[in-house]
């Protein structure tokens, strides 16, 4: 087990940890825009680290060049794809979640409503558009 194997293992484990953080963010965050915030960055960085670790493990060859091509391609295109999806949702009229509103879709979370009337908190939202 030489130095390259240790570096490759560290890079792959770090990439897998970033992918795990992105997966947890997709499930836990409150609305669509915050979920894209979690996935768009951590997935790109996790894939770059993990594939670079595999390239270090493989050693210099043609396969290594192909792996670096995968890294460059995904680092360029994954943010573009996420941005296109967010733009499509925004143009279609999907509303973001603002601070102070009740959680949109998590029934286990208790709603920290300051106002006693539940309907009154939603009213100013309608005037805004």
């Amino acid at each position: 087990m030489n130095v390259f194997d240790v570096v490759a293992l560290i890079l792959v484990i770090a990439g897998a940890l970033f992918l795990l953080v992105g997966s947890i963010g997709v499930v836990r965050l409150p609305d669509f825009y915050t979920r894209t915030h979690a996935v768009g960055k951590t997935d790109t960085l996790g894939l770059v680290l993990a594939v670079l670790g595999i390239a270090v493990h493989d050693g210099p060859s043609l396969t290594d060049a192909k792996l670096i091509a995968v890294v460059v391609f995904v680092a360029l295109t994954n943010p573009v794809g996420t941005h296109a999806l967010v733009r499509s949702a925004y143009v279609s009229g999907l509303r973001p979640w603002f601070k102070g509103q009740p959680m949109p879709d998590d029934p286990t979370e208790d709603h920290h409503d300051d106002t006693p009337d539940h309907g009154a908190a939603v009213e100013p939202e309608e005037d805004r558009r």
């Binding site: 087990m1 194997d5 293992l9 792959v12 484990i13 990439g15 897998a16 992918l19 795990l20 992105g22 997966s23 947890i24 997709v26 499930v27 669509f32 979920r35 894209t36 996935v39 997935d43 790109t44 996790g46 894939l47 993990a50 594939v51 595999i54 493990h57 493989d58 043609l62 396969t63 192909k66 792996l67 091509a69 995968v70 391609f73 995904v74 295109t77 994954n78 573009v80 794809g81 996420t82 296109a84 999806l85 733009r87 499509s88 949702a89 925004y90 143009v91 279609s92 009229g93 999907l94 509303r95 973001p96 603002f98 949109p104 879709d105 805004r128 558009r129």
Partner: protein
Amino acid sequence: MEQAFVVIAVALAVIIVIPAYRVIVGPTLFDRLLGAGAIGTKTVVLVCLVGVIFERLDMFVDIAVGYAILNFIGNLAIAKYFIVPKPDERLPVESP
């Protein structure tokens, strides 16, 4: 060394399953598309790891390249297709 990669690949397979929750119960259409895109991105890493485990990385890396390209093209096409312009329901440019 190979056993370490096997352990990481199994852990990654578990990580890939997690966004499927968002695909199944996502409240809006875009949440489901986001979960599907996240699964596709992580699968590229899993394909490369399987190539290392099977000692056939030169074959699996081509599959990974094709999967990454198809994932990107599919994401762009779906995002373009599902734009539903509603001018009166459009949000203001500066958010309050």
